[in-house]
Each structure stands twice: as structure tokens, then as C-alpha cells.
Amino acid sequence: MELETHHRPEGPPYWHSTEVLRHVSGVTLVALLPVIAAGALLFGLRTFLYISVAIACAAAAELFICKLLNRRTQIRNGHTVVLATILALAAPPACGIGIIACGAVLLVVAKQVVGGLGHYLWHPVLVARAVLCFMFPVLMVPDHWPVLNEDHLATGDIARAAPRRDNNTWFDLDPLAENEAWTAARPVRILTDLYNVPPAEAQPASESVLRLVRDKLPPALDCLLGTTGGGIGETSVIAILLGGVFLVYRSYVHWTLPVFAIVGLVAAAAILPIPGGPSGEALAWWPIRLISGNPSLPVGFMLVSYHLIVGEFMFAIFFVASDMTASPIRTRGHAYYGFGIGMLTVGLRMAGFAAGSTYWAILIMSTLIPAIDRLTRRRVYGT
């Protein structure tokens, strides 16, 4: 009997897990579904338009650049599709498809110029976003951010918007108003202002936090559901947690990264000082107040909680920081990386960077990835 078998002289193993990159991308897209749904609900059907434009432009750009560089395209592994979706979800709802298309091309350039998947140091979406922020600051970082009216959820057009007072809860707004959407400042902008009051207007720190939470920031429920201003996929913390926990469950995001990012952010927000006026104390150290029994404790806790749920923090740690290539290689490195992102986010917010503070924090921490990898070298068994 003659047998024609496929000999594999390279040696064992002859079995392979069927999990390839395509599956990782697919599962990440599934995890993004609740975020996309929340975006469509809160900002209208243009969410889908943005995502399709981003994917189409990114795919076309990838095919073109690979042809140009004479490189084998890897479009089938779906990584570029995931990146394009993340780009669209991180974009301001009113930015327009021109910006999205431009960003999609930029992200493919940022990915392919350094050698493609596996070679880049900075997350391509963040590079594209950074470039867009410099090129189109008005469109990328507007002062007023829309969110749809209660009666026009999913169907309304955010272009027909009217301004609202900042601290109104979205549920109290008039659903029968003629405008289809309301605009307001982003909560993260308001939070950032706390750290950047002119000295003349400064009050005792406990007082200023109290005023901030009571008079300026929207209610926490708004921030959790996402009915505040922000990027399409960034506002709804609940939808992000749904998808993010699924990713952690599938172990495509190691739990240490989001957990330590949250720990870092909480630690920094709780410990770092809040500037006070000449009349009051200069620092409002939350843990010290806790020990001394000062009644301002709930306000301190609220401040930390708001840091967690405003802005792009949650979206960024689950879907952007977890990119395989632009994150440290070891689990212990993920902990350092996440912790640094959390700390830097608060640091940047204190310095006045409201727009995309976590994105900038990730870019800075990405730069340190080689150092983190070097730092977290493990002892090989038996040595």
C-alpha cells in the first residue's frame, strides 16, 4: 500500500489551536456591538455611516498601500476593520465623514509605514487621532457636544441641536422641544476646570469640589448611560463595560490591564492635590480627610467616581489600550502599563488636557513599552 502523507519535518506540535487573528478581531467586533448600539441610540444612525466610511476607507487605503509597498495584504485578518471601527467610535458625533475618511487613511498609514501589524509602537488609531486633532482642532475638539433628545433617540439628527444648561439631567429636558438634540460641554471638560481655576476665583478645595459636583457636572446616571456629550462610543459606560467584560472573559484583554488602569486612576484622583484659594487649604487630600473624619468625604468619593465615568477613559482602557501589538508582552507588564495610563490620565486632566486625556496617556505609555518589557523580564524556570 502506498501512502501519500503530509510529512512535517519541522517537528512537533502537529496540533494547533484554531484561534487565529481573524477570530480575535471578530470577537473584538462582537464586543464592540453594544458600544455601537449605544452610539446609534444616542447619536443617531450616522454612527453606522461613520463606521462604514471608516472601514471602507481603511480597507481601500490598506490595499493601496500594500500594493505600493509590495507587501502581502493582511486585510483578511480583520485587524484594520477593528481599528477603523474604533476610530469611528472615538470620533466626535458631529465631525462629519470627511474627518472620518481622513482618519481612516491616516491610521492605515500609521500602521503600514512602520511595517504593519506587529511592528508599530503607537496605536494607529491614536496616531491618526492626534494628527486630526492638530489638523482640525475645531471639529475634533468642539466646545459643544450634542446628544439626541429623548423623543428622537436613534432617529434624530444631531445637527438640529439646541444648547442646554450643563447640570440638567438629560431626563429632565423637554422631550417635546423642537430641536432634535441638546448640546452641552463634555463632563470631562467641567471636571478639568476644577484643577485650573484662576487663583483669584479659587475657593477652599472641599468647597470647589462640592460646587462642581452639585452645580456643574451632570448626574452620574447620565454619565453611566451615556446621555452626555462625548465621542460616539465613549459616553455609555454601561455599554462599554458589557463589551469590555466580554473581552476579559474571552481573555483577549487580560484583566490586569483595565483593573490596574482603574486602580491607577482612582489612586491618582484620590491622592493628587486640588488647588485651593488663598483663603482655604491648598490641598484636599482625600485619604487624609478620611482619617481625620472631615465631612467632605462624600464629595471626595464623588470626584474619584466622576473621574472614572467621564470622558473616554473606560472606552480607551478596554478597547484601545488592549491592542495586542501596542501593549506590553507580559501580564505583569500589562499591570504597570494600565497603572501608568490611569495615573497619567488624571495627571493630564490636572494639566488641563480635557480632550482625549486617556488617549494621550496611552500614547505616552506606549512609548515606554520597550522599557516595561525590559523591566518585567521573568526568571526562567530553573535559573
Binding site: 517537528g11 512537533p12 524556570y381
Partner: protein, 444 residues
């Protein structure tokens, strides 16, 4: 008496799909004998027979200088020639070609193979049995079990571990030996325990096999043997990880289990030793798991040393054309170029796979997912190792200690980019071992 046994764990590893269901409940069966056997002669051993000699089962075919690598004849027959044949591990091996003149070879019966009192066997008889049983059977890792036992007796070991984990998928030979010859294995281990004057002897059994665990506990009740059921997280059934799990001790790089006072032996070695103790027969045949989607009658067969693969495939029947032939498990075995290969006592399984099993996508660039480092039980960095190998960074390579690799293959298994991690590391390790003495580089 129920004894609590503290057990540890090890880093990394994966619960692989076991794929044992097709053969694990099939008793050990005889296989029709082939017309010719090609009994391999160990390197350095001198054939003790000539062309045309009549040989009987159990007769010495080749004599080695040390006495630890003698070869014995599995069947009655006539020596036809001294031929060169290929085994799964070596392309060219000197074999004794034997024309079989025996109808059939029945597997040992589980009821008969139980001597009255194991502890009554004399010391000299044990020494003799070690040469007969463990000497001719090569342990799974390629080390010579008899020599290890001799060294263990000279240097003294505190712990003897009988490795019944069989953590690799598809393999069920050791499992069947424990199920059918549990008493023999426990008895032989008991005698070996006293022979080596060990402090403890463990029998590690897969915790998922509840009935087997219970039966083994029952058998080991009045003996100093401790049956330990471990979760079968691959690759727990390798020497360093068993030592780590059971004793909580690490084997330093470049050393072996004996250096820290532990002796790890496979179930098949103990089984052969037990038969040599009770019936004074050498190891000349073994249990072979024949499985895979292309096999018509998968099972555990009693196969004499030197049986050609072609004969086993014919006897077990092929449903369809296999795409791949593997000797040993799918994670650590060897792929065969054709069926013109001779099975030895080192081969625990023969797998004939169909195209849909174990196919592999073409390699793409590393995406730095870190999965390989996460599963590596030796805490190596396979991705960085591959990079250092490809870029020929000698210093970086030395820092990453490729010598610690135990060839479990998990890095290649999980790699989403299908990179040849395990094979590259194993190649570079082989070249490093040939170039420099491992122990010395480690000590320096």
C-alpha cells in the same frame, strides 16, 4: 485510610482537548503478528546472533557493554539478516530482521501477573529485573530507565514518582496499563520503593479518571505508595513539572530530577519492571495506542518491538487515506514521512490523522500578543526567542535560556500567527547542546 496530600501547581499550561474517548475504554488486545520484525539494536550494543539462527522469545539478540541496553527477541523465529531500518527518531538504525515463526503474541493477562508477595523478592532479583525490564524499555523521554534506577540506588533518592499522567492528547497506553495492571504497577513500585530506600513514592494519576483514581487508592492502601490525582493540565506529565507539582521543587537548568533526589519513571517502565520481577521476562513488547480519524479499529494493541508501521496500519484498518502519520502524541510526537518505519518500545501511540485535524495556517508576523509567554510552563519568552534566533542575537539568546525548553509545543499551539516557535527553539537548543556542555555553561 484517607490521606490528605498537599500538592502544588506550575506556571502556564493548558487543558488541551483530550481526544482519548475512542480508545480509553478499549482493553489491551493482541494484533496479528507481521511476517518480519525489525528489532532495533541500541547504539553501542553488539548483536549476539547470526544470520539463520533460530531464536526464541526472550532470547538476547544484542549485548551492550554496560548491560543496560540489551535487546531481547519478542517472538520465536529465525534471524534473516542484520538490516538497517528507520525509526521515528532515527533515520538509520541497525536492526535484527526476524522471520516470525509464531502464530500470535498474546498480551500478558492481568489476573496471572500478580506474584504473592512483592516484598519477598530478593535484592539481587530486583537488580536483575531492572536490567531485564527497565533496561530494554526506553523511558518516554529517551533516557535509560535502568541506568537512572542504578544511579538512584547509588546516590540515594528521597522521592520516586511514577508518572501516570499521560497528559498528551490521544494517548491511552499508560491509562490502560494502570486500569488493567494496577496491582502489578503498585506492587512493582512498592518493591522499587524498598529497593531504593526512598522516603516517598508517588503515583500521579489523572484526576478526571475518577474510577481509576479510586481503584488505585484501593490498591495502594496497605503500601507506602501515595496515589496523587492531579488535574491534567498539559504538560503536567513531564519530569520537571511533576517534580514541581508534587515536591514543590525546581530542577535547576541543565540538571535532572535525580540531582535533587527525585526519580521519575513512566508507568510503562514500572510495568515492564513488574513483569520482569514476577515472571523474569524482558521487555519485548508494549501497549500501543492506535488512533486517529483515519483508523478503522482504534484501540490499544500489544505490539512487539520492531513491528513495521505499515503492518499496524493494515491490521487496525484504514478507513481512508490519512493525511498525516504521527508516532507519539500530537504535541511531542514525530511526523512520519511514510509508513516504512519501525515501531520501538519508545513509541506509545500511532496516530493517522485526516486533513481536517491539526492543519496549520501559514505564518504571519508576530503580533506580540504574549500568549506564548503566558502558557510556557518554563516561563520562557518564545516570541522573543524566535526574534533573537531570526536576528542571530547571540547575547540576547543566551539571556533567554533556550536550554530550559522542555519541548511541550504549547507556544506553537496557541500562536495566533502560526509561528514555528517550538521547532525553532528546539533546533537552537539542540545546536547549543552540541556546541557546549549544558551543565558547564549553566555553572559559569
Amino acid at each position: 485510610m484517607f490521606r490528605f496530600i498537599r500538592r502544588g501547581t506550575f506556571y502556564g499550561g493548558i487543558f488541551l482537548p483530550s481526544e482519548k474517548s475512542s480508545t480509553e475504554n478499549r482493553p489491551i488486545e493482541p494484533l496479528p503478528l507481521p511476517e518480519r520484525l525489525y528489532v532495533p539494536v541500541a547504539e553501542g550494543a553488539v548483536p549476539a546472533v547470526h544470520n539463520g539462527d533460530r531464536v526464541r522469545a526472550g532470547q538476547r539478540l544484542a549485548r551492550s557493554e554496560s548491560g543496560y541496553q540489551d535487546t531481547f527477541c519478542p517472538v520465536d523465529g529465525r534471524v534473516r539478516a542484520l538490516a538497517v531500518a528507520a525509526t521515528a527518531w532515527d533515520d538509520e538504525v541497525l536492526t535484527v530482521e526476524i522471520e516470525v515463526q509464531q502464530e500470535r503474541l498474546t498480551p500478558p493477562s492481568s489476573t496471572a501477573a500478580s506474584p504473592p508477595d512483592w516484598t519477598a523478592i530478593a535484592e539481587d532479583a530486583v537488580t536483575q529485573a531492572v536490567l531485564l525490564g527497565a533496561g530494554s524499555a526506553r523511558a518516554d523521554n529517551g533516557g535509560l530507565a535502568a541506568e537512572q534506577i542504578k544511579q538512584a540506588r547509588q546516590r540515594g533518592v528521597a522521592h520516586v514518582i511514577v508518572n501516570g499522567m499521560e497528559s498528551e492528547p490521544c494517548r491511552t497506553a499508560d491509562h490502560r496499563l494502570l486500569v488493567e495492571f494496577g496491582a502489578l504497577v503498585v506492587g512493582a513500585a512498592h518493591r522499587l520503593h524498598e529497593y531504593l530506600d526512598a522516603k516517598r513514592t508517588y503515583v500521579a494519576v489523572d484526576a478526571a479518571q475518577k474510577e481509576l483514581v479510586r481503584a488505585m487508592h484501593e490498591l495502594a492502601r496497605r503500601t507506602p505508595i501515595r496515589v496523587v490525582d492531579l488535574p491534567n493540565r498539559y504538560p503536567v506529565g513531564t519530569d520537571p513539572l511533576l517534580v514541581q507539582t508534587l515536591l514543590g521543587r525546581e530542577i535547576p537548568l541543565g540538571r535532572e530530577a535525580l540531582d535533587i533526589g527525585a526519580l521519575v519513571l513512566g508507568v510503562d517502565t514500572i510495568f515492564h519492571l513488574g513483569r520482569a520481577l514476577s515472571e523474569q521476562v524482558p521487555a519485548t513488547a508494549r501497549v500501543l495506542t492506535v488512533a486517529g480519524a483515519a483508523i478503522d479499529r482504534p484501540g490499544n494493541y500489544w505490539v512487539p518491538n520492531g513491528t513495521p508501521v505499515r503492518h499496524v496500519l493494515q491490521s487496525a484498518g484504514l478507513k481512508s487515506q490519512p493525511s498525516q502519520l504521527i508516532v507519539g502524541g500530537p504535541m511531542t510526537g514525530r511526523s512520519l514521512p511514510d509508513d516504512d518505519i519501525v515501531l520501538t518500545l519508545r513509541c506509545p501511540a500511532l496516530l493517522a490523522l485526516l486533513p481536517q485535524d491539526g492543519t496549520r495556517a501559514p505564518s504571519t508576523a508576530c503580533v506580540r500578543c504574549g500568549w506564548c509567554a503566558e502558557v510556557c510552563p518554563m516561563m520562557l519568552e518564545p516570541a522573543l526567542l524566535l526574534q533573537a534566533i531570526e536576528l542571530q542575537q547571540e547575547r540576547q539568546l543566551a539571556r533567554l535560556h533556550p536550554g530550559a525548553c522542555i519541548d511541550c509545543g504549547l507556544c506553537s499551539y496557541v500562536c495566533p500567527s502560526s509561528l514555528p516557535l517550538a521547532s525553532s527553539i528546539s533546533d537552537v537548543r539542540a545546536s547549543l547542546e552540541n556546541g557546549t556542555d549544558r551543565g558547564q555553561t549553566n555553572g559559569a
